[in-house]
């Protein structure tokens, strides 16, 4: 995880709270020709100990909007729960399902307003009939970025080159799945805070499909030069 922004007036030396559980993480999401795909690794650490090696960092916010969580496990779980609540209230109050843009804006407002207390990097991805799917990145400070491909977490640093070289817009589902699988696998290979298994969520007009990749199963994680 990148070091947090330091305010020149109040230096925050220990941005990592003692004993806190963090999701070092590699999280990714992209838009493909029929929708969006979100992918993440599955490691949560407490210092050097892996507290959960099969974490699910892909959280459902509404039927068609999901988010990837990175940073502090407690902070992101709390933010995601509140977001889920706001979005279900939105649907009740306005009678329409919230758009991905709405969800992303709510999330970025929460992250920005509480930036001093939160350590949360989110990627929001969802399928709308109208737009064909959108991906928004919300890094540490709470800014909002709409992108065709978003990567985040400590492991993302290692795959900027791979992503820049290999990403194409409007890939097919299989191409996109392979791309993300390779990207997350490469990051897991090099980042100590990422590892375990790869979880994916595919969102399109058919609905939602989950994929799971782990070593020694029929959906293995790709291996590289060792």
């Amino acid at each position: 995880m990148a070091t947090s922004v330091t305010d020149p007036l109040n230096v925050d030396i220990n941005s990592i709270k003692k004993g806190e559980i963090r999701m070092g993480t590699t999280i990714t999401a992209l838009k493909y020709n029929e929708g969006v795909i979100l992918a993440a690794d599955s490691r949560t650490t407490m210092g050097a100990y892996i507290a959960n090696r099969v974490t699910d960092k892909l959280t459902q916010l509404t039927d068609n909007i999901w988010c990837c969580r990175s940073g502090s496990a407690a902070d992101t779980q709390a933010v995601a729960d509140i977001l889920k609540y706001y979005l279900s209230m939105y649907e009740v109050q306005y009678g329409i399902t919230p758009t991905v843009h709405t969800a992303a804006t709510l999330a970025s407002e929460m992250c920005y307003t509480n930036k001093n207390m939160l350590s949360a990097g989110l990627i929001i991805g969802g399928y709308d009939e109208k737009t064909g799917g959108e991906v928004y990145s919300i890094p540490l400070g709470g800014s909002l970025h709409k992108q065709p491909l978003a990567i985040g977490g400590s492991g993302s640093a290692f795959i900027y080159g791979f992503c820049d070289a290999n990403f194409k817009e409007n890939m097919t589902k299989d191409e996109a799945v392979e791309f993300l699988k390779f990207a997350v696998a490469l990051a897991m290979e090099r980042d100590g805070s990422s590892g375990g298994t790869i979880r994916m969520v595919i969102l399109n007009k058919e609905g939602m499909e989950r994929k799971f990749f782990a070593i020694n199963t029929e959906n293995p994680i790709p291996r590289f030069y060792r």
């Binding site: 709270k17 004993g19 806190e20 559980i21 959960n52 496990a73 779980q77 729960d81």
Partner: protein, 267 residues
């Protein structure tokens, strides 16, 4: 009903006094911590929670046989590691609120209810309530096992270990766990995991307590395994009467015993 002198927020009254004492060379006493090995395992048709029974205050063992398995509701139990007072009070508080909630909605309590109450409470206190919990129960939706950390994050897993002895316990679980264990297999696995903590972690020791929860009831086993019973003393260390010579005997009575009528409580 509110008290007359209701004060809100944290009580800083002793701050100055404690700072002064610390300056003068009297360090603040260490909070009793449960050191601890706590473990949870989901079996085929039940869930098993286990804990050791040692409570430490720094290097001293404050309690050789404390209870770390707390009842949240008859079908939901919680094992606690971290600061003993925090685990005790937070589980007790959520237990009361779950009982009230269950009466309000007229349904048996669910594990996710107590999970949400616990994690939202702990998140609000940003980790200052040092409670690390293994929450397990069997409700209308089946068996559930969660860990909750002091900062307010939770994980849902088929087997978990927490506390200073968790590394020893998780190594046993990672080696021997398989899905759909039978009840007695799961109990033995949990016992082995806790004993790994008892023997290999200085913060854990004494006995192993267990609780087995299935869709009908929960069966606690206090002292399921006692691998550290004190051995019989090898010699008789009593001094016989006459070892110390009695020169003079004066008996003074300071206590008067009275028998009163029974106190009438009800009319």
């Amino acid at each position: 009903m509110k008290g007359l002198n209701e004060r809100k927020g944290f009580d800083f009254d002793y701050y100055q006094r404690n700072a002064l004492l610390q300056e003068r060379g009297f360090p603040s006493p260490k909070a009793t911590s449960t050191g601890t090995t706590i473990v949870g395992v989901i079996a085929k048709d039940c869930i098993v929670l286990g804990a050791d029974t040692r409570a430490t205050a720094g290097p001293i063992i404050a309690d050789k046989n404390c209870r770390k398995l707390h009842l949240i509701s008859p079908n939901i139990w919680c094992a606690g590691a971290g600061t003993a007072a925090d685990t005790e009070f937070v589980t007790s508080m959520i237990s009361s609120n779950v009982e009230l909630h269950s009466m309000y909605v007229n349904r048996k309590p669910r594990v996710v209810t107590s999970l949400t109450m616990l994690k939202q409470h702990l998140f609000r206190y940003q980790g200052y309530i040092g409670a690390y919990l293994v929450l397990g129960g069997y409700d209308c939706k089946g068996p559930h096992l969660f860990t909750i950390a002091a900062h307010g994050s939770s994980d849902k897993l088929p087997y978990v270990a927490l506390g200073s002895g968790s590394l020893a316990a998780i190594s046993i679980l990672e080696t021997k766990y398989k899905p759909n264990l039978e009840r007695h297999e799961a109990m033995e696995l949990v016992r082995e995991a806790i004993e790994a903590g008892i023997f290999n972690d200085l913060g854990s020791g004494s006995n192993c307590d267990l609780v087995v929860i299935d869709n009908e009831k929960a069966t606690p086993y206090r002292g399921y395994s006692k691998p550290n019973e004190r051995a019989k003393k090898e010699q008789n260390y009593k001094y016989e009467r006459g070892t110390t010579a009695v020169l003079r005997e004066d008996i003074h009575k300071f206590v008067t015993v009275e028998t009163l009528d029974e106190m009438e409580v009800d009319v």
